[in-house]
């Protein structure tokens, strides 16, 4: 009985506040927009009996999804989100790997401190960290002031409200997610492996590529997914740092919902986004499982 309650309470909570809302989104994505409150049709009226239910299902269709394919705004937004997420992930890897590597090479008594320095930004507000870049990247911002002062440029660069600013913002906020998994695989690596490789005739560089990188593969994969997955549906960064030409699906969804009040289309956008996300999520899970198995 007690066991039943233990399972039932969180289970019912998640059913009611996760699964049911999700089903509602699916249902609305099949409905039509209407000038009503709530602004969609049909609505399920259980008092109408079986006929009402059948006519309700008859009224559902894939019109919104067809609409998404007809208007190139949407598929461009998906494509552009995908591109931005991919490029940001690669940039985060290029910046994050040397940091993680150097942390793992640092003296053991330094490592907890370095680790804490990586985790600390994670606890500070995401919004504030994005906001901090607005002052730096603006036309009269500190970066431009600095570049003008050094004489590298003669006119201020436009960075804020471009895709470049979005890349900077994403890499900056998600960098800890890249560093931590890579660091944890590198830290476990046995130094004598490198010594053995050198003993067998590897140069330091080739030992790095032949030993260190393959051994940190699971960390790299985990880090990449941890950056890629949330970036795909990102909203805050493109809307604060990006410009009007920055197309990201999270932003489109937001605008569709709040500005156009087209709930059915917003729901359809969400469903497609989830379908796109399922593949990387499954790959990520598989990578995690492999890592767990390796650790035994």
């Amino acid at each position: 009985m007690r066991r039943f309650a233990l399972i039932a309470v969180p289970y019912l909570w998640l059913l009611a506040l996760f699964l049911v809302p999700f089903l509602i989104v699916m249902k609305i994505s099949l409905s039509d927009i209407a000038l009503a409150i709530p602004p969609y049709t049909p609505k399920l009226d259980l008092t109408g009996g079986w006929d009402a239910v059948t006519s309700f299902f008859k009224a559902l269709d894939f019109e919104n999804f067809e609409f998404l394919t007809s208007d190139d705004l949407y598929w461009k937004a998906y494509l552009s989100s995908f591109k931005i997420a991919l490029i940001s992930t690669v940039l985060a890897l290029l910046i994050g790997y040397p940091i993680a590597y150097s942390m793992a090479r640092a003296a053991p008594e330094w490592r907890p401190t370095l680790l804490m320095l990586v985790i600390l930004p994670f606890w500070t507000s995401f919004l504030i960290r994005v906001y901090a870049w607005m002052g730096i990247l603006s036309n009269e911002g500190l970066l431009n002031q600095f570049l003008l002062w050094t004489g590298l440029i003669s006119e201020p660069l436009t960075i804020l409200n471009t895709n470049t600013a979005v890349y900077i913002g994403i890499v900056y906020t998600y960098l800890p997610f890249m560093i931590l998994p890579i660091y944890s695989t590198l830290e476990k690596m046995d130094d004598s492996l490198l010594e053995a490789a050198e003993d067998l005739g590897c140069s330091r560089t080739s030992a790095f590529w032949l030993i260190t990188v393959p051994l940190s593969k699971t960390g790299i994969i985990a880090g990449c997914f941890l950056v890629f997955i949330p970036t795909l549906g990102e909203f805050v960064i493109p809307s604060l740092l990006g410009g009007s030409q920055t197309l990201m699906i999270g932003k489109v969804l937001w605008e569709e919902f709040f500005n156009n009040r087209d709930w059915p289309v917003a729901s359809a956008v969400a469903i497609i986004l989830l379908l796109i996300l399922i593949i990387p999520i499954i790959l990520f899970q598989r990578n995690e499982q492999k890592q767990r198995e390796m650790e035994g």
């Binding site: 909570w13 998640l14 699964l19 150097s102 804490m116 906001y131 549906g233 969804l253």
Partner: protein, 271 residues
Amino acid sequence: MKRFTWFNVTALTLGFAFLYLPMVILVIYSFNESKLVTVWAGFSTKWYGELLQNEAFLNAAWVTIKVAVFSSTLATVLGTMAAYVLVRANRFKGRTLFSGMIYAPLVMPEVITGLSLLLLFIGIGLDRGVLTIVLAHTTFAMCYVSVVVSSRLVSFDRSLEEAALDLGCSPWQAFRLVTLPIIAPAVISGWLLAFTLSLDDLVIASFTAGPSATTLPIKIFSAVRLGVSPEINALSTIMIAIVTVGVISASLISKQASLKQQRDEQAAARG
């Protein structure tokens, strides 16, 4: 460390400069006299004063804290239960769905979570306000809590619970007197995580908040959209300071505790 080279030093210096410079600049400019955030016009704390006069911000902050306290506490209870179920109850109907529902919100884009919850609240005719934000935050935070707690529970020596039962505890007493005190650090960090997530959340709160309740991130977001403002700098500085002090003292306390434990164990080994 023999392989600690100039490369490592450079990578770490540049890396941490990248991570911390923007925040340092933000903090410095919060003490700027000028309204123009990019021009230094002398030291001043006047923006902090103005911030404290700003009713709208203070109200939003109060709402945010209320929401965070309630939702993180609720999320900790539910998340710990869920973790217990995940780790201990091996076979029951719908276990796959259950673990799926625990892990899905972790990777679900916030816009989708927010949208779906909003549609639910409208569907059942629940007025949007503090309650709906608490419900929404509890739902996604409990998943984080259950992940943190279950990672501790997995390594928990089950025979401790069996020993408690063996010595006459009811299952609930065994949990309260043995399991809970031992997994307490994980439960506390789960609560802190849930609290921070709730304080920090903009997207889900935007969907589920009504006109009656605005949280601080919503307030900051709408202010920031119009551009950089020194008041927001001051607010950010306060938030950064609180987090920094909190995280550093927490890590110092846990480090001290583990050092003491190590010393004790060495002493015990010597006899």
